[in-house]
């Protein structure tokens, strides 16, 4: 039994924010941002929260798949910017779309979140425990950004993507690979609440994301190609069999750098970071949905999804469309 993609969708808030926006609030400019990152524009919420973006992406994916919300057995939402600690974002979506027969939970693996969520869904589907699964990756990154820090504010965007996976005798998700290790230096951090209770009082310091861009750049460079190789291992497939690779959309320079010396990989990467910025767990989900919508892949094509980010975490999937 395989998990097969039968539908997909994505949603971004109706508020496009070009690089020029930052020229008024920070010492930066369009030239710096686009030449260092490839990003030209992103979308920022004007109030919609992560579950709202996820719900809109889910509705589009359901329509695309032809199944109804009641047919869903399971909902997994990958995010590091949930609306609340409780209920989970997945439960909020469940309510909004009326998926009364599903169980729902969130997964936290930062920019690799969608890889982790798909991998979990894959296992449930292969075990025959569920038939239809909604997997969402989405973030409202803008609520976690420090708009006085030009090193992070210009990089991220808000958005969500969703896929419907169905148990099928035909492949689907062929393989998945996940990894993580200690981010020793704290290069990517978004803090939650400090312990405050009758026994200890602590300052509630920043709940904005902090990043050491260079360390993250170094880490990402080390894992991208390796993570692609790992998901092919033991499958009998090689680079030549792969139609397209959808990487986490962090920075075009980073992707170019990682694959620099590998001509076999070079032209397979799908990039849309110019339009959306880095939407963390949303990015691969949005790109996958866009690729299906534009019919850039067709039934039978093999693709690889590859994510990397905070934790550190990384992950990849080999999928037959």
């Amino acid at each position: 039994m395989y998990g097969k993609i039968i539908g997909s969708g994505f949603y971004v808030p109706d508020n496009e924010v070009p690089n020029e926006f930052f020229e008024n609030i920070l010492e930066t400019n369009d030239e710096w941002i686009s030449s260092r990152t490839g990003i030209k524009t992103r979308y920022f919420s004007k109030g919609e929260n992560t579950s709202d973006l996820g719900t809109n992406a889910a509705i589009m994916a359901l329509e695309d798949s032809g199944i109804k919300a009641e047919d869903l057995d399971m909902i997994v939402f990958a995010t590091m910017t949930p609306d609340m600690f409780m209920p989970s974002t997945a439960c909020l979506v469940q309510k909004k779309i009326g998926a009364i027969n599903a169980f729902a939970f969130d997964i936290s693996a930062a920019c690799s979140g969608f890889m982790y969520a798909l991998s979990v869904a894959k296992e449930f589907l292969e075990n025959g425990k569920v038939k239809n699964v909604l997997v969402i990756g989405g973030e409202v990154m803008s609520k976690s950004l420090d708009f006085s820090d030009r090193g992070t504010a210009v990089l991220f965007g808000d958005g969500a993507g969703a896929v419907i996976l169905q148990a099928s005798d035909e492949p689907g998700i062929i393989n998945s690979y996940l990894g993580s290790r200690d981010d020793v230096k704290g290069s990517l951090v978004l803090k939650a609440l400090p312990v405050n209770n009758p026994f200890i009082q602590q300052e509630n310091d920043t709940n904005k994301m902090t990043m050491d861009g260079r360390e993250v750049f170094k880490f990402s460079k080390q894992v991208i190609v390796d993570t692609i190789d790992k998901v092919l291992e033991g499958t009998g497939y090689s680079y030549d069999d792969i139609k397209m690779i959808i990487p986490h959309q962090a920075n075009t320079r980073l992707i170019d750098y990682a694959i620099n010396k590998n001509d076999k990989l070079k032209n397979k990467f799908y990039i849309n970071v110019d339009k959306f910025g880095n939407t963390s767990a949303g990015s691969i989900a949005i790109a996958l949905s866009e690729v299906r919508q534009k019919k850039l892949v067709e039934a039978g094509d093999l693709i690889i999804l590859v994510g990397f980010g905070g934790g550190f975490t990384w992950g990849s999937l080999l999928i037959k469309i």
């Binding site: 030449s35 260092r36 050491d212 260079r214 360390e215 750049f217 170094k218 460079k221 320079r253 750098y257 620099n260």
Partner: protein
């Protein structure tokens, strides 16, 4: 070593090796931005078995700075 460093710079920054002098400014003469420099450092680390701390990068401005850094950290 100087020659090897020049070769690496020529390759990574796509510049003519004859234009690379010891006193060349990486940024102004060789057009390397901070991301190009991370790439260069990566190759230097592999080639010479040194570890360049990312915070030290800001002090490396010329080709001579690279040569000196590697000599003193080998």
């Amino acid at each position: 070593m100087e020659q090897k460093i020049k070769e690496i710079l020529a390759e990574e920054l796509s510049v003519d090796i004859n234009e690379i002098k010891l006193e060349s400014s990486l940024k102004d003469d060789l057009n390397a931005d901070s991301i190009d420099m991370m790439q260069v450092v990566d190759v230097l680390e592999q080639e010479f078995g040194v570890e360049v701390d990312t915070s030290e990068l800001a002090k490396i401005l010329t080709v001579a700075d690279i040569v000196n850094y590697i000599e003193s950290h080998k």
